[in-house]
Amino acid sequence: MNGDEEKMTVIVQTIAALLFPITLIFSFYVIMHGHLTPGGGFQGGAIGASAIVLLIVAYGVRNIEKRMKEENLSIFESLGGLIFVVVSIFGIFLATAFLANFLVGKAIFGQIPAWGEAPLNSGGVLPILNIAVGMKVIGGLSAVVMLLALITKEGER
């Protein structure tokens, strides 16, 4: 099976290709604004994973898997976990304890918002941890869906 038979129709493919960047940008927005608006790493990561799942559904698992290997997704996920732990450990050396918020008051992400303001450059380590968890969830959920879909297609053969 070369993967052509599991594609959906051209209409579905076009709509999926249109929706994919929009969904991905919305996911990055939710992750980046995790310390300002409702949402955060987990929620934005789930949105981003659903964008990749949309591509998998429309174009077929095999065609997506050629471009986007599940090893790479797994590496992306592990990188997110590594960033989380390393930033947490930096809290021991640069501040008081594990997971301490050592960036408050510094130049990067250190601004404390005034009344009614929501600057992106605030929150200390929270934006970094949000990005790490977002990477983790995007990579992990899409890798799981891709693997399960591959197994299902192999069973049909």
Binding site: N101, I112, A118, G123, G124, L126
Partner: protein, 107 residues
């Protein structure tokens, strides 16, 4: 014996429910909950923070301590950061399990 235990436990429950504050009414001051606190603000101000308009800065609360507007995020990633780390570990373990079960052989 069981009846005595039941009566004692029920009495505790009854006294506890009498001592409870009115449903839905937050404590009006920190001193009501923490009698040794050396400042006197409302409980909401203690948690979210109190904005000092004249000095233009936040006092006491999560916004001042973490610098994040979203107090829920500051709880999830800062005050209860270990919980989030554990949650991420659960996700990692689940994905590692799926990879072990369904991943194909590498050449």
């Amino acid at each position: 014996m069981k009846k005595i235990a039941f009566i004692v436990f029920f009495a505790f429950l009854l006294f506890a429910s009498i001592e409870m504050r009115e449903f839905g009414k937050p404590p009006s001051s920190v001193k009501e909950v923490f009698p040794n606190a050396n400042y006197d603000v409302t409980m909401d101000d203690r948690i979210i923070g109190k904005y000092n308009a004249s000095a233009e800065k936040w006092e006491y609360g999560a916004v001042e301590e973490t610098g994040a507007n979203n107090v829920v995020t500051s709880v999830v990633f800062d005050y209860r950061g270990y919980d989030t780390l554990g949650e991420a570990t659960v996700l990692f373990t689940a994905i590692a399990g799926v990879m072990l079960l369904f991943g194909r052989e590498r050449k």
